[in-house]
């Protein structure tokens, strides 16, 4: 029951469009594929769903979060009285790491921006974020820092499907009262001390 796979859930996004801005990597690519697999179509503009992707590896030289661009698209969604925005952020936005001060600060700022936009763009636009912990695929590190696993109570890395499923939930047409949330997908890393004291 603990492992996650691509077919673990479906949502009905037929008739909806999505747009992805920001960082282009294996995770954001998989999110786009998952949205398509659930019926949404890619769109260049006026999309119903906006995915704002950021670099998920904390040693990335790029920590920029496309907040102004997201805000502008969000305002047009609000004018059309509907939309979902999902940020792909790092779990370090909720709990900073000593080894990654600048990156943690950038992610925390993105979380504050996400929450601010959730308040500013309601009631018709829902704004949330996924906070990725350690994510691996085929031995390749895609998000987080492997040191986090020593305190992640599940004792393993997450998969890309763990992230895409969280995004699908935040786009779920039946999930309509969740906004301003950082949904952290980190196996329990940020929760407390994963050791016996």
């Amino acid at each position: 029951m603990s492992m996650t796979d691509d077919a673990a859930m479906t949502v009905d996004l037929a008739g909806r469009t999505y747009r992805l801005i920001g960082n282009d990597d294996a995770v954001s690519g998989a999110v786009a594929a998952a949205l398509s697999a659930n019926g949404a179509q890619a769109s260049g503009s006026e999309a119903d769903i906006l995915i704002a992707a950021t670099p998920l590896l904390p040693d990335s030289s790029e920590t920029g979060v496309p907040l102004p661009a997201v805000a502008e698209i969000g305002r047009s969604m609000a004018a059309r009285e509907g939309g979902r925005i999902v940020f792909l952020l790092s779990a370090l936005g909720g709990l900073p790491m000593r080894r990654h001060v600048d990156y943690s600060a950038a992610m925390a700022a993105a979380v504050a921006g996400m929450r601010g936009l959730a308040m500013a763009l309601g009631p018709h636009v829902l704004v949330n974020a996924v906070g990725a912990g350690v994510i691996e695929q085929g031995g390749e590190l895609l998000a987080g820092d492997r040191r986090m696993l020593t305190h992640a109570s599940l004792g393993r890395a997450g998969t890309i499907a763990d992230i895409t499923n969280a995004v699908l939930f935040l786009c779920d047409p039946m999930n309509t009262y969740t906004t301003g949330q950082l949904l952290t997908v980190d196996g329990g890393w940020s929760v407390g001390y994963g050791r016996n004291f």
Binding site: S2, T10, D162, N175, Y177, T178, G180
Partner: protein, 259 residues
């Protein structure tokens, strides 16, 4: 969303109530066998009668004997227990006063059900989960007042904050056994029973409610179905790497300062 919970057994406390019955229905719709547990057996029977494969079960979470019997009945009927939804809870209505005059009996009643009950229920339900070694799920229903304090309900506020931190400790303790624990913090949720508190006779928000709704970016109370959808996600195979999280389903109420 849809997911496959067939073959899984879910135990939902307070399942005769508005939110609990919505949770039970949503889990059953996705294939789970649901134990509709409540101190109100007649109410539980009414809910269970509409859900295929479900059973009604008397369960008073203030009583270890009642909990033991309910979990035993579950494993006797289904042979397993995979998912516990700690939904049962009460708040203070008649004693809306500040702490200096808050009655001891009311403190004991609210914390006894909301916090002690969650502990007793979880400890008992974990026994068949751990013995089976298949992992499992626990979803605790907290409240936004456990995240942001409110006046005139000190016992409820303290109990719900206790649930939130207990959720995190449970995640740390049980994660290595493959049991993931998360919480949902509902905001203001409207039910048939509370509709009159929200809306005036003209169908618009009543005076104080209108002011209160300015603090909620979505500008409305939530529904029981919206809480049930979040429970379904945290119960599904799709959320297996989410552990110890507190998801506020509150229309953005606690995202920041909205007025």
């Amino acid at each position: 969303m849809r997911c496959d919970l067939s073959g899984r057994v879910a135990f939902v406390t307070g399942a005769a109530g508005a939110i609990g019955s919505a949770i039970a229905k949503r889990l059953a719709e996705n294939g789970a066998s649901v134990v509709v547990a409540d101190v109100n057996l007649a109410g539980a029977e009414q809910v269970a009668a509409k859900l295929p494969g479900a059973m009604a079960q008397l369960c008073d979470i203030r009583s270890e004997a009642s909990i033991d019997a309910a979990v035993e009945a579950t494993t006797a009927r289904y042979g397993r227990l995979d998912l516990l939804v700690n939904n049962a809870g009460v708040n203070t209505f008649a004693n809306r006063v500040t702490i200096d005059s808050f009655p001891t009996a009311e403190w004991d009643r609210v914390t006894g059900i909301d916090l002690d009950g969650l502990f007793l229920m979880s400890r008992c339900a974990l026994q068949p989960m751990l013995a089976a070694g298949r992992g499992g799920r626990i979803v605790n229903i907290a409240s936004v007042v456990g995240l942001a304090a409110m006046r005139l309900q000190i016992a409820f506020v303290a109990a719900k904050a206790g649930i939130i931190h207990a959720t995190r400790a449970m995640a740390l303790e049980l994660g290595p056994q493959g049991i993931v624990t998360n919480a949902i913090a509902p905001g203001s949720i409207m039910t048939e029973g509370t509709k009159a508190l929200f809306y005036g006779s003209d169908g618009t928000f009543a005076g104080r409610t209108a002011e209160f709704m300015q603090h909620i970016p979505l500008g409305r109370p939530g529904t029981t179905e919206e809480i049930a959808e979040a429970v379904l996600f945290l119960s599904s195979p799709a959320s297996g790497y989410i552990n110890g999280q507190v998801l506020a389903v509150d229309g953005g109420w606690t995202a920041g300062f909205s007025p």
